[in-house]
């Protein structure tokens, strides 16, 4: 995790161009420039800036009592509980501070993230559920009817799903279901989970808007799950215990569902974990096209305005989620497959 933080910091700090200047835009004057530089710590050498960054992110951090210093414990920056202080330095326990957005005046990155991340999360989870259910089902069908036309059709569709760029499928789906078939589907081309009603008063949830983005986002994982499920099920069918089950005279239904499928699920679960995090990233395109108010759309906006703290924060949070999910999956894996032991 430390490595990720380091890589991200240095990647974004070797940027050509002066971020302080970018914030002020055209109407700059040197005094303002100096103030901003000081506020964000840009006047310090890069190694000091790096230490500041780590200090901001760390749960336990050190702060100066001098109001002039960058690390001064100001209440509108940090939500902290003081632990103890030595001399001029206070040690505190705090929530990681991701700094402020450059372009949205004074808005904290953590606020931006808490506003948008849940939306993306809902979208990704729905997409994964769609991909899992449909993918496992189609994978089983494909394996059971191996080499028939049914299997071949599913295979072709799955290759198709893997090679379509997500922004292209998003455009096609928005166009086809949201525009051409709008009369029948009543789906909008764009829309977010929460929308103001016509009077701009109450905010209400529109589940309807979730359908198209989630389906589009689910296409790729779906294609992968189908392939994996099919291959792993075919492998399981050749195992001895399936033959034993057959010899015992179990019904085909019991063999497939109780013996084969559960064992064939392992690689699928691992793959899904990998996919979940990249879906948070892949949501960039889908959210952008459907106007879904999530992290991905925020990243695109931040990219266009070069709002570095927001991009850094988003990349960081996705990477950390990725690590956490992987740990969780390792645990699920042990439960699914008793042969594997946690290290």
């Amino acid at each position: 995790m430390f490595g990720v933080v380091t890589v991200i910091f240095f990647l974004f700090n070797v940027l050509p161009g002066d971020p302080a200047q970018m914030m002020l835009g055209q109407n700059e004057d040197s005094e303002q420039l100096a103030i901003i530089k000081k506020k964000y710590g840009f006047d310090k050498p890069i190694s000091t800036q790096y230490l500041y960054y780590l200090n901001d992110l760390s749960l336990v951090s050190f702060h100066s009592k001098n109001a002039e210093d960058y690390t001064f414990l100001s209440p509108n920056k940090y939500a902290a509980t003081e632990l103890f202080s030595i001399g001029n330095t206070t040690t505190v326990l705090k929530f990681p501070y991701l700094r402020e957005s450059f372009t949205k005046q004074g808005k904290k990155v953590s606020e931006v993230l808490t506003e948008t991340l849940p939306n993306t999360f809902v979208l990704a989870v729905t997409a994964i559920i769609i991909a899992m259910l449909l993918g496992v089902f189609l994978g089983i069908v494909s394996a059971l009817y191996k080499d028939t036309w049914l299997d071949k059709t599913i295979q072709i569709l799955s290759t198709f799903g893997m090679s379509i760029p997500s922004f292209f499928s998003a455009i096609l789906f928005a166009w086809f279901f949201g525009y051409i078939l709008h009369r029948y589907t009543h789906l909008e081309m764009t829309g977010s989970l929460y929308e103001m009603d016509d009077f701009g008063e109450a905010i209400h949830i529109k589940w309807k808007n979730l359908i198209l983005p989630a389906v589009v986002l689910g296409i790729r994982p779906l294609a992968v799950v189908i392939q994996l499920m099919r291959n792993s099920l075919l492998e399981v069918f050749n195992q001895d215990y399936i033959r034993t089950a057959r010899a015992k005279g179990l019904s085909e239904y019991q063999i497939i569902w109780k013996h084969a499928v559960k064992n064939a699920m392992n690689p699928v679960v691992t793959a899904i974990s990998g996919w979940f995090a990249s879906m948070l990233a892949g949501a960039v395109f889908v959210e952008y096209i459907f106007g879904w108010n999530g992290l991905g759309k925020e990243i695109v906006n931040a990219l266009n305005t070069l709002d570095l703290p927001v991009i850094m924060g988003s990349v960081l949070i996705i990477a950390i989620l990725f690590i956490i999910i992987n740990i969780l999956v390792d645990i699920i894996y042990v439960w699914l497959d008793p042969k594997v032991k946690l290290d």
Binding site: V7, F12, V14, T159, F168, N231, S278, A281, V315, F322
Partner: protein
């Protein structure tokens, strides 16, 4: 079993030939490769980046035909044949779509093309600008097979020239990823210990940042532009290659042929290059085909976001970005054609990857 002895390579080739989709994709990729190299020869609009704009005939349907008047600029552009064939013709001539024209004594009067029933502006021009005083030679019927884009450029030419970037990025990214990946993977797998631990740490860090975001970060660090994208994609893809190479090397390190080579006193470098690598190439080849496909996808995605190839360079992703708003204006082909191009090329690489996997008997 046949009696004639065959090398493993021949056997793999034989298996590959039997796979219809594999051979089909191979031919398709070859075709796209040729097209991308000779794009400017094949394209109707052979100006640099196929960038000849005619705003008055923007976003027309495929098969649109108009008479085009070319007014020579009189400038003599110095350009050799090689440059023309591979980088397009530098063109200073003005092309004007016209609906009608008439020749009076020494002037040519014409009506500019205007769509939607509007009347075009009438203009006159002296005949002396045309080199042989015969303006008829400079008026030609032009058909736009794929229609025109929102600047009135020929979509077919843009698509052909755009194939270059997609194809090229695949090559560069796969090349970079192979060089770094094989190097890192083999020293990690072969030497083990601290080197292995360090390289695995780098791999895990790179791996836990999603490819797209990492590429975005690198492109931001290196600046916008298409070379940056090439490098960025290559720098993120080596991870997979390195993992596979490392795993393979660990599994063959203890095999007898490696021990034998060591007993003969060969140095480590020679053992890795000459003895181990040729034996573990199969999975690397399969991964490279997959990487090729994902490099194309990532590039189109970046261009779609506007941080890939910069205009006037033509890239399929950027073409979709420019035109996806037109999809509800009854002109979906503008975005769908480049989209289909990306899809078919990516699919061809995926199918070829699958075929290679079956032929080389690589697991999973």
């Amino acid at each position: 079993m046949s009696l004639t002895s065959q090398s493993l390579k021949q056997l793999a080739l034989q298996k590959f030939k039997k796979n219809f989709w594999g051979v089909f994709s191979f031919c398709f990729i070859l075709l796209v490769g040729v097209v991308s190299v000779f794009a400017y020869v094949l394209a109707p609009d052979n100006s640099q980046y196929a960038n000849q704009m005619h705003l008055s005939i923007h976003s027309k349907k495929p098969g649109f035909t108009v008479s085009m008047l070319t007014i020579p600029s009189g400038m003599d552009l110095d350009q050799n044949v090689f440059d023309k064939i591979f980088f397009g013709t530098k063109n200073a001539d003005t092309e004007i779509p016209i609906s009608s024209f008439a020749i009076n004594k020494d002037t040519l009067s014409y009506t500019e093309y205007a769509s939607d029933g509007l009347k075009g502006i009438e203009k006159a021009i002296s005949l002396s600008v045309f080199s042989n005083n015969n303006p008829q030679d400079f008026i030609k019927q032009k058909t736009f097979l794929f229609g025109t884009d929102k600047y009135g450029r020929d979509l077919l030419s843009r698509v052909l020239v755009g194939a270059r970037i997609s194809f090229f990025i695949g090559f560069v990214a796969v090349f970079i990823s192979l060089v770094i990946g094989i190097f890192m993977g083999s020293i990690a797998g072969y030497f083990g210990g601290k080197i292995d631990a360090f390289i695995m740490w780098v791999i895990n860090v790179t791996w836990s940042i999603p490819t797209l975001l990492l590429v975005i970060a690198i492109t931001l660090a290196l600046g916008k532009g298409f070379w940056q994208v090439f490098i960025a994609v290559g720098l993120t893809m080596w991870v997979e290659v390195a993992r596979v190479v490392r795993g393979q090397i660990i599994s063959v390190k203890e095999m007898q042929y490696v021990t034998a080579a060591r007993a003969l006193g060969f140095n480590d470098f020679r053992i890795i290059i000459k003895h181990i690598l040729p034996n573990i190439m199969a999975p690397v080849i399969v991964i490279s085909a997959a990487n090729f496909a994902s490099a194309i996808l990532v590039e189109s995605g970046l261009s779609f976001l506007g941080i890939g190839a910069q205009p006037p360079m033509s890239s399929w992703g950027a073409m979709i970005k420019d035109h996806y708003n037109y999809i509800i204006l009854g002109k979906p082909f503008l975005a769908i054609i480049p989209g289909l191009c990306i899809m078919s090329l990516v699919m061809a690489f995926m199918l070829i990857g699958n075929a290679l996997r079956d032929a080389l008997d690589v697991k999973g």
